[in-house]
């Protein structure tokens, strides 16, 4: 019965062959630059040929070693036979089929790897939350307090990009290994060559896609995460023949269990953490220092008892657009108050979006101030207090800041006063006491690299 997929190695072993034949098969195998399963099939087939050939020669009168040598002489040089067999196997048809099959299976592998990657990232997030929220809570908060830039980098929309990129890394690794395996099997090309081709082609394709095509919220963490995808793909392709690393499952489960128990028990005894320094000035001295920084934008105009003319009316932030609303301090539709009368004296009243930086006034006090590196706002927008859309005595402005790398902003309102000088009319209070307006860069890695700060 013809069994196209039968494995010759699964059949009962044949009688031993003479040493000369074994040596011939060894030299033949050494010259066969083909996948291992094909080499094994050819070796079995040629071994069977020798059994038949030796039996026929012995029936002609030659015995033992002489029959074996005659069989070898008839079949010819093993190196030349190997070269002919390689040529016979490496057809263009198999090359194309190998490429197509490899791409198909890589795609399927990527889909499965994506699901696996999401599961791994989700599990890692949960584990991280448990560990950093209990056992490692003090050092974690200390690190975040000492490195506010790290805390900012691990928050917001760009972190979502990074998490998805990590899942993509898993998908790329699985896809590369499946693609190489299938391409090698079908095309009959040398595994080392197939691995290099897949690694180079996949790296180039994914690198271009990651740098020039994938548009998403970005920061340094997300950029590095996305750039890791092509490298992981190449690694998966080049190591596709490496035996799979088997995890000692029982030990992993036991370690997770011990970690959970330790975390739970330690959590009861973790000393209370006073938390990072507040983002807003909460002492008179710090507040005064902050106001001096605000005055670099424009000197404050106050109408009574140090009150600004305008107060904040809310804001939206977190994406590529920040929105700020302000309202007249004492606006009354029936009778304009002193603040409203003061505002009416100003011309060219406008919103100004300034880049913000964190300024540590002391060990305990941190402030957000306009970035001293800039002497002008990033953008301005007219303040219209008569727009019914926002309500009487209120004005709102939107700034598209999604294409600059700066992610922290302070919005001021200024106007030209009766003396012809520009004054600051509001005192940013920082939304919900949590810091400045925050935005996230949205675009490709290339746009992020070439964007202004």
């Amino acid at each position: 019965m013809l069994e196209p997929d039968a494995n010759p190695s699964s059949s009962p072993d044949e009688t031993p062959l003479p040493a000369e034949i074994d040596e011939y098969l060894r030299r033949l195998g050494a010259g066969l630059d083909l996948p291992a399963h094909v080499r094994a099939e050819i070796a079995s087939e040629i071994a069977g040929h020798f059994r038949d050939s030796i039996a026929a020669i012995e029936s002609e009168g030659l015995e033992g070693d002489r029959a074996a040598r005659e069989a070898i002489a008839r079949l010819g040089n093993p190196t030349e036979l190997a070269a002919e067999l390689i040529s016979a196997h490496r057809t263009t048809r198999r090359l194309l089929a190998g490429a197509a099959g490899g791409v198909l299976h890589a795609t399927l592998g990527a889909a499965g790897g994506w699901v696996l990657g999401i599961a791994i990232v989700a599990a890692a997030l949960c584990a991280s939350a448990v560990v950093t929220g209990t056992l490692l809570r003090p050092p974690t908060e200390f690190v975040f307090a000492s490195l506010p830039a790290l805390r900012a980098a691990l928050a917001g929309l760009p972190m979502v990009t990074a998490l998805l990129a990590w899942a993509c890394c898993v998908a790329a690794f699985v896809a590369a290994r499946r693609g190489v395996a299938v391409s090698t099997r079908i095309s009959r090309r040398t595994p080392a060559v197939v691995r290099r081709i897949w690694a180079a082609a996949g790296f180039a394709l994914l690198f271009v896609a990651a740098v020039l095509m994938v548009s998403a919220p970005q920061n340094l963490v997300s950029v590095l995460s996305l750039l890791a995808v092509p490298f992981v793909f190449a690694t998966g392709a080049l190591t596709s023949s490496t035996p799979r690393v088997s995890l000692p499952r029982r030990k992993v489960v036991a370690a997770i269990g011990v970690l959970a128990i330790l975390s739970a028990s330690f959590a009861r005894n973790v000393p209370a953490w006073s938390g990072p320094p507040p983002d807003v000035a909460d002492t008179p001295q710090a507040h005064a220092a902050q106001l001096r920084e605000f005055d670099r934008v424009a000197p404050a105009w106050t109408y009574i008892d140090g009150h600004p003319v305008l107060v904040e009316g809310g804001g939206l932030w977190g994406s590529g657009v920040i929105t700020q609303t302000v309202g007249v301090w004492d606006f009354d539709p029936s009778s304009s108050g002193a603040a409203a009368q003061a505002l009416s004296q100003f011309k060219d009243v406008r919103f100004e979006a300034w880049r913000a930086v964190r300024f540590d006034a002391s060990l305990d006090i941190a402030e957000w101030i306009p970035d001293p590196a800039y002497s002008a706002p990033y953008a301005t927008a007219p303040a219209d207090f008569n727009d019914v859309q926002f309500g009487a005595g209120r004005a709102q402005a939107e700034f598209d800041v999604g294409h600059v790398r700066t992610t922290e902003w302070i919005v001021f309102v200024t106007g030209i006063g009766p003396d012809g000088r520009r004054y600051r009319l509001n005192e940013p209070e920082f939304n919900m006491g949590g810091g400045p307006l925050e935005s996230s860069f949205t675009g490709t890695i290339w746009q992020w690299l070439t964007a202004s700060t």
Partner: protein
Amino acid sequence: MATVSAESLAAVMAAIGNDRLSGYGVLVRLGKPPAAQGTPELALYPTLHRLEAVGRLRAGWSTDSSGRTRRLYRRS
């Protein structure tokens, strides 16, 4: 390096006919000495594998009653 001529390919296909033959079976059917038939023994297996690669032959493993395993070829 030996080359496989169109005549050799045709000779192998004709030798197989509608049967299922091992490489040695094809050789026997071609007659001895093989070189006289235009299919040297060295070129036999490359020829069979080439015909399989282009889809004109199908190959599979078969075990006979004595336990011998052979790779058999037949027309597609």
